[in-house]
Symmetry: C2
Subunit: 456 residues, 2 copies
């Protein structure tokens, strides 16, 4: 049986594959909120059962956090590992969803059919493209293309605290020739792409305390320090007027683009006006001397992801609060050291505290950036397979998001990661009304079948 | 029957008076939160019934917001009006309360007996000192001391939106020789005081919008403007490095202290180290060239009372939010014009917006500061009555909080306000575990009986 038979099988099985994805999407596996711990467990069980039904020796492996799903099947070179994550982002603000985020559905939109629901694109829909491709392959060919390992995580959206220990303890089992990671997107929603440059991520939460209790701003306003005022100064100090980040030593290890990559990126003709216009913006807000593609792919960033303090309900309350809080993240590139930046950031904030204020920090993950070796012999065949499916030459691109596991495969296992995904810019991952295009799902499955054929 | 008989009656009736106050405290009349609208109504009904039981012709009067309670009784000069408010502040953060805020109780503490619960000091306990004094007077003397009007409001903690229209429409009915307002405190918790200088209040809420939806900070971080970053710059810009407020024209109409008042305040020997030490602070945080008493009584202030945006739950979410919000209040003095400051503040913030950001404002009350004419013939007798009860010379003082109604009595009705109250610095009004000392309640009732006796 040929590749065409596998592709045909994928086409006819699409309704059943979609039903399976909808089933998985109904499980609210929000990893960052302890209230959903059992649901994360349930999502892992669902995947184990699905893999076992295909004949994969799959099992759930306990960690101090949410479990890993590991499965093995097939034999022969190359040894391909497939990584995905079954956990999803929180859904707030819930009132902005047009439907229950965990009651997914197929919707017809003016841009085509979409699968709507939390996790549809990030990452349940994407990880199922791999599983469905292998299911079709096995059903049509009666055997596996090569030795396959599945490695599915449940903590990707909460900083992957168990990942490094698990990979170290199970290094021999997880080492492979290539680790296929399906958690990225198409270029500008149209062109298939292999991501070769990934930003790292450093997360910090800080709490500033001024008075030891909430005060009445009439009685104490003017004489008592307000922690929100201090936090405002901290937030304002993070960027200078040109958009540069002011943490001391922050740009240590930030490389300039090679001329080759600069030329290739210019060839991509990124339409930043449309990229920003889709979200109601027009002005690139990063360092003023950088191009828009550099801002999202190759330059480091600092964003406040959350801020709160005092009275935030309806109406007004003249409180002078005891505490103010912020969650701040840094996207890292090149060889920026997340641990050095964490220390420098904390020291910078500590030095800004007035005598009466204290600040406490807690860290939320710290992963360096990573770059991928495109000279690896499997990359060009994979790129060709993608080009064949999408009828457009596939591109090597950067990715603004952080997928720390790509770096861990390199540093902990010596396994080269290959990042291929089919998300689109308007998928609204991490936002209300997340969706995954039926085209992404269908052609995504077909793409993996072609890649498997090309690599074996 | 003499004043001493009235005072004796107050002493023996204290347990019953306390029970009545506890009953009123059990009604969660939070005016700022629409969920408690019926409870506000219930508190008004309770007061009408209590006044009627004393023989006062009392009734609930509808407004577009929460109702007013108005009652009339007695005849002859002077015509005394008594003002208080039956609404209370919200109770969050609820987890910091040691008991249900609306299940009040008498507690023995190392500083004496206290009445614990939301509204105990602000203002239900205080307004009941007036009602209990008049109840005892009537029961002992069989008649009223003079013509009395009760005027009890239910929107004081939410900006009193209905107050000005109501006072204008009912001006003839509410005009009096003096308006007694019981919503202030003792000086340093020990010395009885009449407040003669009150700060005004301007409340503003602002929402900054950057992208039109929440974004993923990996995909958009670096290129998309983050509204929290813009809000941080706004908050940081409100004060300069010397603690001065930077809103253009803000200090127009801020008077310097008269030499006489400056001398009197120096005589009060305010212990700012202890005032700040009680709330875990040590450094006066206002304008660096001003004394601590000026900072809380005679200088204008700006405080952020609430700030929020992005993800504020447990864990981390790498969202680049669409919106960021703040509630900001200004305390005003002298002849500062709240409406001019509102306009200047809004223009200042608008000018700080980057091209892609919009800002929307909503106002939460705007009342000017007010000063009281202590030359009025009733002030010295009242001050002497307070000194007699507390066995310490009563003081004329300033008040950092804002009681806009004092100014409205002057400007709308031509009625001089007299601000007398028995709150203490550690009452934790607007905070968790609010309390009112039994001493404040008991001697407060007795103080009013002495004042009634002195003025009639």
């Amino acid at each position: 049986m040929s590749l065409d038979d596998v592709l045909a099988r994928i086409d006819t099985d699409l309704p059943a594959a979609t039903d399976r994805l909808l089933e998985l999407l109904r499980i609210p596996s929000i990893s960052t909120d302890p209230a959903y711990k059992e649901d994360c467990d349930r999502a892992a069980d669902w995947l184990v059962a699905d893999l076992q039904s295909m004949g994969v020796e799959a099992e759930k492996r306990a960690t101090p956090g949410h479990p890993m799903v590991v499965g093995h099947v097939g034999e022969g070179k190359p040894h391909l590992l497939f990584y995905g994550h079954y956990d999803v982002q929180p859904v707030d603000p819930l009132e902005l969803w047009d439907r229950d985020p965990f009651d997914p559905a197929i919707e017809d939109t003016d841009k085509g059919r979409v699968i709507r629901g939390r996790g549809a694109a990030d990452d349940k829909g994407q990880l199922m493209t791999i599983i469905e491709a292998l299911r079709a392959w096995k059903e049509v060919k009666g055997d596996w293309p090569c030795r396959i390992t599945f490695f599915l995580e449940g903590e990707e959206e909460s900083g992957s605290p168990s990942l490094i220990p698990f990979m170290k303890e199970n290094a021999d089992e997880l080492k492979a020739d290539v680790a296929m990671i399906c958690d990225t997107g198409l270029f500008e929603s149209k062109t298939p792409a292999i991501v070769t440059m990934l930003r790292g991520l450093l997360g910090e939460e800080l709490t500033i305390t001024a008075p030891d209790k909430d005060l009445h701003s009439g009685m104490f306003g003017g004489i008592a320090m307000n922690p929100i005022r201090v936090l405002g100064k901290v937030v304002a100090a993070l960027h200078d007027d040109t958009g540069r980040i002011t943490v001391p030593g922050f740009y240590d290890g930030v490389p300039e683009l090679s001329e080759e990559l600069e030329a290739q990126w210019q060839g991509l003709a990124f339409d930043h006006a449309s990229f920003l216009g889709d979200v109601g913006l027009s002005q690139p807000a990063g360092e003023q001397d950088r191009t828009p593609l550099e801002m999202i792919w190759s330059r480091p960033t600092c964003d406040v992801n959350g801020i709160w303090g005092g009275y935030t309900g309806d109406g007004f309350k003249t409180v002078l609060p005891s505490q103010a809080h912020a969650k701040i993240s840094f996207r890292l590139v090149g060889t920026q050291d997340p641990f050095a930046i964490r220390e420098n950031f904390r020291n910078m904030v500590r030095e800004m505290m007035p005598e009466d204020c204290t600040v406490e920090f807690s860290g939320h993950g710290a992963g360096p950036a990573s770059g991928v070796e495109t000279g690896h012999p499997m990359f060009e065949p994979a790129r060709q397979a993608l080009s064949d499916e999408w009828q457009v030459p596939a591109a090597y691109i950067g990715c603004g998001g952080s997928i720390p596991i790509a770096g861990y495969f390199q540093t902990l296992l010596g396994t080269e990661p290959m990042l291929v995904g089919f998300g689109k810019d308007d998928d609204q991952i991490h936002s209300p009304n997340e969706k995954y295009d039926m085209e992404s799902f269908h052609k995504g499955i077909r793409s993996w079948a072609r890649i498997l054929d090309a690599l074996t």
